[in-house]
Symmetry: C2
Subunit: 187 residues, 2 copies
């Protein structure tokens, strides 16, 4: 999390937006590992000390940008039933998070994050999306697990394997996790 509160529309918000944009542009131009604070400051039109004052160091800045990139862009699609909603969401989550860009963002979010707030935010994004899916299911009269159970038995295995044992990860695996969490007796 950035060290200052951001007042929407104020100078602080404009600085954040221009610095984040500079990081994204430069990362695609020169590669993430070549980024430096002076380079980012110049592109964003701020002084390096503005960046150090606000983010502490490059790692924390990259962590903030990563969390922003990991924010879901839309509410989960409505396919008419819980199994298809959750399956579609899990497949998309795996697809995005296991891509080279997704992996890099997850690592950045975890790393420059001394207080754990950024990693917590990533997990909160997933929990919010799952909550939307489960609430919709409940409104249709469908029974389902709770959010924490889906976190434990769908999100956690996907993220664990992305980080620790990526071999053989595919959409079929995501579908099996969803099937098992919706029908634990069938395992």
């Amino acid at each position: 999390m950035s060290r200052q509160m951001v007042r929407p529309g104020g100078r602080s918000a404009r600085v954040q937006a221009s610095v984040h944009t500079a990081v994204r542009e430069l990362a695609s131009e020169v590669g993430r590992d070549a980024l430096t604070v002076p380079m980012i400051a110049q592109r964003a039109g701020v002084t390096p000390s503005t960046i150090y004052r606000r983010w502490g160091d490059l790692q924390e800045l990259l962590s903030d940008v990563a969390v922003e990139r990991l924010r879901p862009e839309a509410t989960p699609g409505d396919h008419g039933a819980l199994p298809s909603d959750l399956t579609a969401w899990a497949e998309q989550f795996l697809d995005e998070m296991s891509s080279p860009a997704g992996r890099a963002y997850i690592r950045d979010a975890l790393l420059g994050d001394p207080d754990g707030g950024n990693a917590g935010q990533c997990s909160a994004y997933a929990a919010e999306q799952i909550d939307v899916i489960l609430t919709r299911a409940s409104e249709r009269g469908e029974k389902g697990p709770d959010v924490e159970t889906v976190i434990d038995h769908v999100v956690a295995p996907l993220m664990y394997r992305i980080l620790f044992r990526p071999d053989g990860l595919d959409a079929a695996y995501a579908r099996r996790l969803v099937t098992a969490v919706l029908d634990p007796t069938g395992r």
Copy 2:
């Protein structure tokens, strides 16, 4: 993984041992964030270029040391039955990995690890320990899940929460995960 193969007992193995020892000693003396390659080289009695040649950079060296520290020190205890064996292992795993030192090692193992080999090694350690427990259970005639199922539904939720949402993690949570994986119908 270090870039060169290590010949046990050879100069390469001695360099590795002295550099690893220097990292551990200095980390406890000055703190992990104050470590530099020249400082480590001096303590280990090697040149900085030896370290750069072998490990690439400080991050990769710290990743290597972290994996070594995460290696289990003993085979899992035999408590006479699968539920108690797996529960005791899961409680100890959570305890070690969620400690400040454990968290720091996990982050280091994940970070300075461009090819993912070190993270894979951490996961392989857990899989080996679980395999010992399940094989012992099978030899007693007990039925149980397979290793990958325990990874997905016990190790993954523990590690996911350690990294992304550590609030409220306790031994009771680890025990619930084990109970659920051994009796999926009871959830």
